[in-house]
Structures are given as structure tokens and as C-alpha cells.
Symmetry: C2
Subunit: 124 residues, 2 copies
């Protein structure tokens, strides 16, 4: 079975993926919701117990590093969305993804390039 992070676990992993690493304090500061410091601490220990993060001692604090990478957690989540919501249709998913007003033409172009590359590979 694919890796399955809980809601809150994902919030915390996301911070570590973004920062590369973080102390409890750093993670706590980044989390949007108003959690207690000790809650974040517990969460990180839980994640460590599950093998998703590891820590090194840094002064008197622990510095946590992601072990599970976003890709590994991501593919499961994305596949699930693709399967359950968009019934396996990547087109539907992409349609929805690009329907957003905020997508810039530049981003669209880069994505098209990406597609062209991929198509080139297949046709050669």
C-alpha cells in the first residue's frame, strides 16, 4: 500500500520538504493553524516513530529531516484524487488544474513544452 500521511502529518511534512529541515520551533512557526508547541513536538515524534522523519541533535534542540520524500507521499495522494475524483482521467484533472484563473500564460507554456517533450519521446 502506498504511503498515507494523515492531514496534520502532511501539514508538517510539507514544512520540512519546503525548508529542507526544521527544529520544533521552526516547524511550529510555519504551521498556519494555531497549535501548541508541544503538539508539534508530539507530531514530529509520531512521524519519527513511523519513519517519516529523523533527527539530529543540534545544540540542545533536535533538527528534524524528512525521510519520506514528497514524491513518495505525493504519488499516492495524487493517484487517489485521479482515480476517485476524476475517474482516472488525466485530462479531466488537468482541465480542472488549469481552469484556475491564477494560472499564468508562462506556466501554461512551460507545461506545454513539457508535454511536447514527452510526446517527442514517444514518437521517436
Amino acid at each position: 500500500m502506498s504511503i498515507r500521511l494523515t492531514h496534520r502529518e502532511l501539514d508538517i511534512m510539507a514544512v520540512l520538504w519546503r525548508l529542507g529541515s526544521g527544529t520544533v520551533n521552526e516547524v511550529w512557526a510555519e504551521i498556519e493553524d494555531d497549535l501548541a508547541y508541544s503538539t508539534v513536538l508530539t507530531m514530529l515524534r509520531t512521524l519519527e516513530g513511523k519513519g517519516h522523519v529523523r533527527h539530529e541533535v543540534q545544540g540542545k534542540a533536535f533538527r528534524y529531516y524528512p525521510v519520506t520524500q514528497s514524491e513518495d507521499a505525493g504519488s499516492g495522494a495524487l493517484d487517489r484524487v485521479l482515480d476517485k475524483i476524476y475517474q482516472g482521467s488525466r485530462e479531466l484533472l488537468v482541465t480542472r488544474l488549469l481552469a484556475d484563473e491564477e494560472v499564468s500564460p508562462e506556466e501554461l507554456r512551460r507545461i506545454r513544452e513539457l508535454l511536447d517533450e514527452r510526446l517527442g519521446e514517444l514518437e521517436s
Copy 2:
């Protein structure tokens, strides 16, 4: 806050979205995992309590209809994946989505068309 279905709730909603509607029996038959009939029943009642489905009496059975539509639940889930895993980068997400070996050239072409349309809109 966006709609947030639990894992199992999503499984069940996915069936209803696909079939359009379903009795407990029908949903139960479609769910892959080996659940007790009463579990599915409970789940549907829970979903009804949360307003995600409604039912009509059909003979002696209930026929359930989705109230929450896949798009509504989907955007939340997709946005979350986009945000937390791919750090908001649609490119990264699309890259991953199309990296899959199983994607056919036809599908890629259709997606490219989709992109071209969208770009056309923006440029005009």
C-alpha cells in the same frame, strides 16, 4: 474551509459519483474492500448527516444521491496535493502526472489541445 472527506467517505462518494446514485446494496457491491453491509449503511448515514448525500425511498430500500459533487470535493483535495506536495507548482504536478508509463500519446495530445485552447483564450 474546503470540503474534506475521509478516506472511506471518498471511496463511497466515488461510487455514487460514478453510478449517479445507489442503494446500500449497490454501493456495497461496488466497494472493493470487504466491508460488512452494515458498515456501508452506517457510512451512508454518516455522509447524509454531514450533508454529502441525500436519499429517496424506493420500495423498501433507500436510494442515495450525491449532494456534494466530485468537483467540490475534488478541488479541495487537488489543491491540497498541489499546495503541500508540489509546493503550488502545477508544472511539477503535471510532470509527475504524465511521467506515468501508462499515459497514451492520444491522451497527451488531447491534453496539449486543451492547453492550446487555454493559451489561445489568454492571448486573444
